[in-house]
Symmetry: C2
Subunit: 542 residues, 2 copies
C-alpha cells in the first residue's frame, strides 16, 4: 500500500489526510487547531497586545509549522502507515493569505523589532482593510487599459495579493522596506517543507494577476500606483511559477524531523483550496462545472480556450490543471445566507428545510435577490444587498427559507448561462464542500433550477484529497504515485451515490420565476435602479 | 349629571360606554361577546351546520340584539346611572356589514325555510367572497363612465354593499327575491331600537356609492349588471338618509324593555366606527388628519370643497360631519404587518420595539414597501405584495421591525401628500385606535416621517365615545345633551398628554429614504415593474 498525504490549511486549522494512492481510500485524518487562530482583535504578543483596526484579520505563520509538527506525526501514529509508504505530499491553502519575510524566509513577525507591528504578520484571506488600495489598483488599471483587468471581471478584490502588499507600503513603509520577500502563505509553507522558495501558478494567477502568457503586470503599472512599488515583483516575488502537480522539491531534513516523514519525500507545488478540489471531484477536463458549496459558493470550470466570460473572479492558464484554462466564478453568499435566516427567525436548519421541502415551486409567491453578502459573479459588486419581494400576512419562515435557496440557485444559473454564452458548455455539475451531503433538498432545487444533473463528490475532504492527489502526481507512478492528474483522478477520486436529476414540472415553474429573477437582477444590479447603493450611502451617513 | 350612551359594535363583540355629557368622563363600560362570533366555518344551526366556502364571514343579527339586552342593563347597574339621566344613545358599527330582511325587519336567517341558507345571514365586513361581483361592478362602471367611480379611487371593494347584494342575487336568487330589504347592520340595529327603518349617510356614502347631490347610482347602471338588479335601490333600500348626529327616533317600548332605558330616549342615526371616531378625537373641521391606527390604518380628513384626491376609499358630503366633505383613505396593513414580523421571528413587540428604538434612522440600510396586505391608498390594488431591500448578513430582526414601521409611515406620508396636492392641507395629525397608546416609538417615527406634530386622542374608546357624542347631539342641549357636534366635541372630547413633535435631524434622513420609497412605490405599484402580480399568478398556478 502506498499513500499520499494531503494537508488542507483552513481559516482556523490544518487538516492532514492520508489517502491510498490505488483507490483513494481515506486512511485517516488529523486536525491541528491553530493556537493563535484568526487574529482580529489584538496581536498575540503577551507583553502588550497591540489592538487591531476593524476589518483586519491576521494569522501566525508559526501555526503553519505547528500544523506540520503536530498533525502529521499523530496521523502516522494513528493510521500505522509507515513513513516509507508515504510517496508524496501536497498542501492546499486559503488564498490570498500572504506575509512579508526576509530573504531566507524568516517571517518579519518573528523579528524582535517588528513583532509589535501588525503589518509584519500574515494577512489572512478575509483581511478586508486594503479596500483603498484595491480601489487605487482598479482605477489605475482601468485608466491605463491594463490587459489583465478583463480576465478578473474588470475589478480585483481587496482580498488579493497586491492590495495587501500595497497596504503594507502605504501604512508601514518601514516594514515594506524590510520585506525582502512578499509571499503567499501556501508557498511559504512549501518553502519550509522543501527548504527552497517556489511559487504556484494557481495562487499567482487567481490572486496576483499573473498569466502564463504575460507574467505579472508591468513595472510601469506598479510605478503609477506608487514609485516605490514599481519593482515589487522583480525585487520581492519573482521566482519560477510551478503548475499544479509539479514537484516543488523534496522534504528537507528539518521538515522530515518535524513530520516523521522521510527526507526527500516529493512535495507538490502548493495549491488554493477551492482549486485543489476540482480533480478530487473526478473532474479533469471541460464540460463539467465544479461547485464548492459552503458559506459561499465557488464555481470552477475548465476550458480549452481563453474566453472572456462576464464577471469571472479570474481565468488562469494552468491555474487548476495543466493544459487548461481554469475559470473561477463565485457567489459571495450561500450557506451564510441560510444561516442568517435561521439566526433571524430561530429554529433549526433541519426543521426549516423539512417544511420548505413540502412546498411546491412558486407556491409561496416569493422571490429574492441573493445578495446578502454582495454579488461576486457576474456583477462583481460588493455593495449590492439582499432583496425579498412578495410577502403577505400569510408568509411563513419556511417559505422564506425556500426562497433564499431558490435565489442562490438562480444566481448559479446566471453564472452557468454566462459560461454557455461564452461557448463554455456546462453539461453537468459536481458539487463538493460542506453543504451537499447534509442538504438533499437544497441540491434538488439547484438541479431543478439549473436544469443540470448534479453529482456529489464522494469525499467530504475534497481539498485535502486533491492536495494528496497532487502529492501523488509529484511522486510519479514509478514511486507508487501517478504520472498525471488524470490517472490520479481515475484511481483516487469518486462520486457519492447521491445524484440529483432535474424535475421537469419544477423546471417549468422555475423558468418563469427565473425570468423575474433575471429582470430584477439586471434592474438592481446593472445600474437601472440604484436603491441598494443609496441605502448604503445613507447607512454610512454619506 | 347627564350621560350619553355609545355602543360600539365590533367584529366579535358589542361594547357599551356611558359618558358624562358635560366633561366627557367615561362612567363605565360593559362588553357583550357575540355568542356566535364570526361565522366563517359553518352556520350556527345545530341540526346540520352548513359548511361555508373560503372567504366567507357572517354574523348572527340576534347577537346585536343580545348586545343591547346584556351590555346595557349591566352597564346601568354597575355605574348606578339612572335611566332618566341617559339623555341619548348612539351606535357605531363595522361596515359594510349587511343583511337581507323582510319588510318588517325580520332577518331572513330567522325564517325556518331560509336559516340553512348562508346568503340569508349577515355578511360581515370581512366577507371576501364577492370579488367576482366587485370586478363586474367596477368594469361596468368604468365602461359607462359612471360619475361616482372617481370618488372611490376608481375602484370599489368586494367588501362593499352592492358587491355583497349582487352576490346574493348571483348565487341565491331565491333569497334575493325574499329580501324585501337589504340593509346595513347598523341601520338594522337602529331600526330594532326605534321601531322605524332609517338609513345613515355615512355607510351609504362610503359603502354604497350614495352622494348627497346625486343619490345612488341610476337604475340603468344596475340593470347593466343584471336586469333583475335594476331596481335594487327603489325596491329594497330607499328611505331617508340621515346625516351624522340626526335623531333617528326615540327608543321604542320593546327596546326600552331590553335595555332598561326609558322609552322615547333619543337615538342617533347610526355611524361607521372609523368615522364616528373623528369628533371623539376633538376634530370637527378641516386641516387636521385623523388616523385610526389598529391592524390597518384609516385616514379621515374634512374639507370644505369636493376635490378629487388620488386613491381615496371615498369622499362623502355629510359623511363624517354635517356641512363637510369627509375624505377617507387607508392603509390595508399596519399593526398586522408588525404582528407578522413578531410571529415570523419570535420574541415580543416590546422587545423588538425597544431594540428598534435604539437605532438611528437609516442605520440599518433597509427599506420596505408596506404592502403585505395590498395597498388601499393611493394605489387601490389588493394584489400588491410586500418588499424588503438592503439586507446583509448583519441585518437583525429589530432592524426589520423598525423598517416595517418606517415603511407604514412612508405610506401615510404618500396619503398626506396626496391630500395636499388636492389642496386639502394637513396641518397636524390626531391618532386614535389600538396602537398609539402602546407604541410611543411608532408614533415618533410617524411624526418624523410625515413632518407633522401628532396628538393622541384622550379616549381609548374613540368609536364608542363618538357614538355617545352623536347620541348627545340627537338629544339636544335642552335635554342635557348638545346642540351641535362642535359643542359636543368641545365638552366631551379630549387629547391625551402625549404629543409627538418631528425631530429635524431624523426628518432629514427620512426625506432621503422617502425619496427612495416613492420611487420603488411608483415602480412596483404603477405598472413599471409587474413582479408582484406575476408572482401571484405563478402562485395561483395561472
Amino acid at each position: 500500500m502506498k499513500a499520499a498525504l494531503g494537508i488542507d490549511y483552513g481559516t482556523e486549522s490544518a487538516r492532514a489526510v492520508l489517502v491510498d494512492c490505488e483507490d483513494g481510500g481515506e486512511l485517516g485524518e488529523s486536525v491541528y487547531a491553530d493556537a493563535n487562530g484568526v487574529i482580529d482583535e489584538r496581536l498575540p504578543t503577551p507583553d502588550d497586545g497591540i489592538e487591531l483596526e476593524p476589518d483586519w484579520a491576521l494569522q501566525d505563520p508559526d501555526d503553519y509549522v505547528r500544523g506540520l509538527k503536530e498533525a502529521v506525526p499523530r496521523l502516522l501514529a494513528e493510521t500505522g502507515v509507515q513513513a516509507e509508504d508515504v510517496v508524496g505530499v501536497g498542501i492546499d491553502f486559503t488564498s490570498c493569505t500572504m506575509l512579508p519575510t526576509l530573504a531566507d524566509g524568516t517571517p518579519l513577525c518573528r523579528l524582535d523589532d517588528l513583532r509589535h507591528e501588525p503589518h509584519a504578520w500574515v494577512k489572512l484571506w478575509k483581511h478586508h482593510a486594503a479596500q483603498p488600495e484595491a480601489d487605487r489598483i482598479n482605477a489605475v488599471a482601468a485608466e491605463r487599459g491594463e490587459a489583465w483587468l478583463p480576465r478578473y471581471g474588470g475589478k480585483i478584490s481587496s482580498e488579493w495579493f497586491f492590495a495587501k502588499a500595497l497596504q503594507i507600503l502605504d501604512e508601514a513603509p518601514a516594514v515594506y522596506v524590510r520585506a525582502e520577500r512578499l509571499i503567499e502563505a501556501c508557498d511559504w509553507t512549501v518553502w519550509q517543507m522543501t527548504g527552497a522558495e517556489t511559487r504556484n501558478a494557481c495562487a499567482a494567477g487567481y490572486k496576483a494577476m499573473w498569466s502564463k502568457r504575460d507574467g505579472f503586470p508591468p513595472a510601469t503599472y506598479f510605478a503609477t500606483l506608487d514609485p516605490r512599488f514599481a519593482h515589487v515583483v522583480d525585487e520581492r516575488m519573482s521566482g519560477t511559477l510551478l503548475p499544479p502537480g509539479a514537484r516543488a522539491g523534496g522534504l528537507c531534513e528539518r521538515a522530515a524531523a518535524w513530520t516523521g516523514l522521510r527526507a526527500g519525500t516529493p512535495v507538490a507545488a502548493a495549491n488554493v483550496d477551492f482549486h485543489a478540489s476540482v480533480p478530487a471531484t473526478t473532474v479533469t477536463g471541460p464540460g463539467t462545472l465544479v461547485m464548492i458549496m459552503g458559506t459561499s459558493n465557488g464555481h470552477l470550470l475548465l476550458g480549452e480556450e481563453l474566453a472572456y466570460v462576464e464577471g469571472m473572479c479570474g481565468v488562469v492558464e494552468d491555474g487548476i490543471l495543466p493544459g487548461y484554462y481554469g475559470y473561477e466564478a463565485g457567489q459571495s453568499g450561500l450557506g451564510d445566507i441560510y444561516a442568517w435566516l435561521v439566526r433571524t427567525v430561530g429554529g433549526s436548519h433541519d426543521a426549516l428545510a423539512a417544511e420548505a421541502a413540502r412546498l411546491r415551486p412558486g407556491e409561496s409567491g416569493l422571490l429574492a435577490l441573493d445578495w446578502w453578502n454582495g454579488n461576486r459573479s457576474v456583477l462583481v459588486d460588493a455593495d449590492l444587498r439582499g432583496l425579498l419581494v412578495g410577502m403577505t400576512l400569510a408568509t411563513t419562515a419556511p417559505e422564506i427559507y425556500r426562497t433564499l435557496i431558490e435565489a442562490t440557485a438562480f444566481g448559479t444559473r446566471v453564472i452557468v448561462e454566462g459560461f454557455e454564452r461564452a461557448e463554455l458548455p456546462v453539461g453537468g455539475i459536481v458539487a463538493c464542500g460542506g453543504m451537499p451531503d447534509r442538504n438533499p433538498f437544497l441540491m434538488q432545487v439547484f438541479a431543478d433550477v439549473t436544469g443540470r444533473k448534479i453529482a456529489v463528490a464522494g469525499s467530504r475532504q475534497a481539498p485535502a484529497l486533491g492536495a494528496a492527489m497532487f502529492g501523488a502526481v509529484a511522486a510519479g507512478a514509478a514511486a507508487g504515485g501517478h504520472d498525471s492528474i488524470d490517472d490520479a483522478a481515475r484511481a483516487m477520486a469518486h462520486l457519492s451515490d447521491a445524484t440529483y436529476v432535474p424535475n421537469a414540472a419544477h423546471r417549468e415553474v422555475y423558468d418563469r420565476l427565473y425570468a423575474e429573477y433575471v429582470r430584477l437582477h439586471d434592474l438592481f444590479g446593472r445600474g437601472g435602479d440604484d436603491v441598494m447603493r443609496t441605502l448604503k450611502r445613507i447607512q454610512l451617513g454619506a
